[in-house]
């Protein structure tokens, strides 16, 4: 009886939950409404016997039942029953509980349960997919930071002087002899010019050992041998040349000295090779590894051993440069 009165008021006068649309539908905003429409059957306020299915924020689905016996205790209107996770069992539970309720409510509750279960399943599937893909959206940079970085990048580019630096590095590498004694990336004329330039600067002696071709080296060795003989014999025949070769003598000694060094290191290396793994070999290995980074491609493998030694010497120089 009082239901009727309530409904009359709600329908004809005012209901806070009612939402009217232009299409002529009346919706009910009440959270316990089972269908969502504002009807005599669906209104949770105008029916003292009512049932709904809702989810908790965590995702568990509950059946809410309202009975006439508690109509005078509004705070205890809704009886909350947790439904099973199993869909079929949950349906059965609803049937049991709402056995003597109007068919409308039973039907609507089952429909709601179905829909909620479907939604929950879909959400879980999406979450799992997100987790599998492992992609996280990185938030966009704040505009202030973006502008700052843009400006700094511009200035860094100017400070970098890229083309000059690249050119300088390449020429350094050429000068250091990292491209071997017959570099594939350098034309003959330019290479000759480089060698001449280095000789003039006084670094020519060492580089000469490295860079001249095989025939030239033989010639040098022959020359050195001849000169050695000269020195040993002290032939009177070469008196006049002796004065001229005074200057050369220094160079010769340098050559001889470096040759001796190389030979000594060669011998050492051989010894170490014979042994298991000498330290020096590891060092040279390591240095060649660094050398790999720096030299990048000892394509010419002819004088591999000797080059290694000289590589080492070069490396240490450059290392020292870099370290200090």
């Amino acid at each position: 009886m009082s239901d009727e009165i309530v409904w009359q008021i709600i329908n004809q006068q005012f209901c806070a939950f009612k939402l009217k649309t232009t299409k002529g539908n009346n919706f009910c905003r009440n959270e316990y409404n089972v269908s969502g429409f504002c009807n005599r059957q669906s209104c949770p306020l105008a029916n003292s016997r009512y049932a709904t299915v809702r989810t908790s924020p965590k995702g568990t689905i509950y059946l809410y039942i309202k009975t006439i016996e508690r109509a005078h205790m509004p705070s205890k209107w809704w009886e909350k029953i947790k439904l099973s996770q199993n869909y079929a069992e949950a349906l059965q539970q609803i049937e049991d509980r709402l056995q003597y309720f109007p068919k409308f409510l039973l039907h609507k509750c089952k429909q709601r349960l179905t829909r909620l279960v479907q939604v929950a399943t879909r959400m879980r599937k999406l979450a799992a997919e997100e987790d599998r893909l492992g992609e996280k959206l990185v938030p966009k940079m704040a505009p202030k930071v973006k502008h700052r970085e843009e400006a700094r990048e511009r200035k860094a580019l100017i400070a970098a002087k890229l083309e000059r630096t690249i050119e300088r590095e390449l020429l350094e590498r050429l000068r250091q002899g990292m491209y071997g004694d017959q570099p594939l990336n350098c034309s003959e004329s330019v290479w000759k010019k480089v060698l001449q330039g280095l000789e003039k600067e006084g670094e020519g002696t060492r580089d000469k050992d490295l860079d001249e071709g095989i025939e030239d080296e033989d010639e040098e060795e022959e020359e050195e041998e001849e000169l050695e003989e000269e020195i040993e014999d002290g032939n009177v025949e070469y008196v006049s040349d002796f004065e001229e070769t005074d200057d050369e003598l220094n160079d010769i000694e340098d050559w001889l000295g470096s040759d001796d060094e190389d030979d000594a290191e060669d011998d050492d290396d051989e010894d170490d090779d014979d042994d298991d793994e000498g330290d020096s070999e590891e060092d040279t290995k390591k240095k060649t590894k660094a050398g790999d980074k720096r030299k990048r491609g000892k394509v010419t493998k002819m004088k591999a051993r000797k080059k290694k030694e000289i590589e080492v010497e070069h490396e240490t120089d450059r290392e020292k440069l870099l370290a200090f």
Binding site: G134, L162, A290, K293, R294, G297, F324
Partner: protein, 427 residues
């Protein structure tokens, strides 16, 4: 108007500002400017004449008036630590440690007693000796500490000149953390797989990026609504099985490449290694460059400049492994990754060593001196292919953020607050 008092009684300011007669003021101002200009001009003229006679004066003047660039003002973290994220010059650190050891050895050789040795050891540990100053042998310790500080403060004389990174300088902690990267002997030929983010549309750019690295393939990411979308971890697993060494993922924003994630897939026994995430800016394809060249498929040379800190060395080593270890010099191509103030500039050039034209000067080393032995030789450069700027943002232990587990899953992350100090850089 600053004050109502115009005219003769105004204090301060030159006559050319004080005069209230506009015409006279104008004339006075012109006169003043002329005089100033004249002073400066005469000064420079005089200096020029003097320096023409004695070039040493010029050198001195230049040496005294070096422009104070940000690189010179660079601020390092003052710790004896070489972990990732500490802005420490690795070369400097090594040198300092060596010198410390030498000092130790020298003192030991001098026959210091064992007690003193222990105290000295404590002093030379990571903690400041100021905190643990013992009363005994204070003089010696103080002296050593002072020396150490002096050495630390002394600017490395060759720092600005050596742009090229020496990868031999890797600190031990780094080799321990990333053994797969740093202990590769012999160096492996890389095999790179390039792909995009899901729903990526920058296929052309990604192909270009793939073409930068020899021995690389680009594969599209499936984004069909009903097709299985492979996650990065799955792709990494497949790539590893097929022998790829590096997986690269190009991210996009508004149809432009905006990020690059490099994931090192290691050999069979080792778990996938560090993944470094960069952001790409100012991407320009080859076509957009004026006078660009076309790349060949020779292995390029690699130039890694300016990586100083442990993090920088990690990035440099990572990029080093992306390219084949033995370049084909006959191709005359060079790839440059130049780090300047944390921005890594990527460039690709074709070069040729040629004789200098009449109008060209000789090449100058970073210190300002002419390069010896290279008079009249220059390297001509022609840029090829894409150019962009990278900035390192993250270093993860495993495959990206999701594929890394453990406490140190995130090795390093860029945070905006790192940029507060203008002179502190991470790489």
């Amino acid at each position: 108007m600053p004050s109502g008092n115009k005219g003769k009684n105004r204090s301060g300011g030159s006559l050319s500002l004080k005069t209230s007669n506009k015409i006279v003021r104008k004339q006075l101002y012109v006169k003043q400017k002329k005089e100033q200009g004249k002073e400066r001009h005469e000064e420079r003229h005089r200096r020029r004449k003097e320096e023409a006679k004695d070039p040493k004066l010029r050198e001195e003047r230049l040496a005294n008036n070096q422009p104070l660039t940000i690189e010179r003002k660079r601020v390092w973290d003052d710790v004896d630590d070489d972990s990732l994220g500490v802005a420490v010059d690795v070369a400097e650190l090594k040198r300092r440690r060596l010198e410390k050891e030498e000092a130790e050895a020298a003192r030991l050789a001098d026959g210091v007693t064992e007690e003193d040795e222990e105290k000295d050891d404590d002093a030379d540990s990571m903690l400041d000796s100021d905190e643990e100053g013992d009363d005994d042998d204070e003089d010696a310790e103080e002296r050593i500490e002072r020396l150490r500080q002096e050495r630390a403060q002394r600017k490395p004389s060759i720092a600005p000149s050596t742009t090229s990174t020496n990868l031999d300088m890797t600190p031990d902690s780094l080799t321990r953390q990333f053994p797969n990267l740093f202990n590769e002997e012999p160096p492996v030929d890389p095999k790179i797989l390039v792909t995009t983010h899901l729903n990526g549309t920058i296929h052309k750019e990604a192909e270009d990026i793939a073409a930068i690295f020899p021995n690389s393939t680009y594969i599209r990411r499936s984004a069909h609504a009903y097709g299985h979308k492979y996650s990065v971890r799955e792709i990494a697993k497949f790539a590893k099985n097929r022998g790829y060494t590096i997986l690269m993922i190009v991210g996009e924003d508004l149809k432009k490449p905006s990020s690059l994630t490099v994931i090192h897939l290691n050999g069979e026994d080792v778990a996938p290694g560090p993944s470094l995430t960069y952001t790409i800016r100012n991407y320009l394809p080859g076509k957009a460059l004026l006078g660009h060249g076309n790349p060949t498929n020779h292995y390029p040379e690699l130039l890694l400049n300016g990586f100083k800190t442990p993090l920088g060395i990690l990035a440099a080593k990572s990029m080093h492994t992306m390219f084949p270890p033995r370049p084909e010099l006959s191709g005359r191509q060079v790839v440059t990754l130049h780090n300047q103030r944390d921005y890594i500039f990527f460039r690709r050039h074709r070069y040729v060593f040629r004789e200098a034209r009449a109008t060209e000067k000789n090449v100058v080393t970073a210190e300002g001196k002419e390069m010896e032995g290279m008079q009249g030789i220059r390297a001509g450069l022609q840029e090829i292919g894409p150019r962009f700027t990278l900035k390192l943002r993250r270093v993860d232990k495993g495959i990206g953020r999701a594929g890394s587990e453990g406490e140190d899953a995130l090795k390093w992350e860029w945070k905006a607050k790192m940029e507060k100090v203008r002179t502190r850089f991470n790489l």
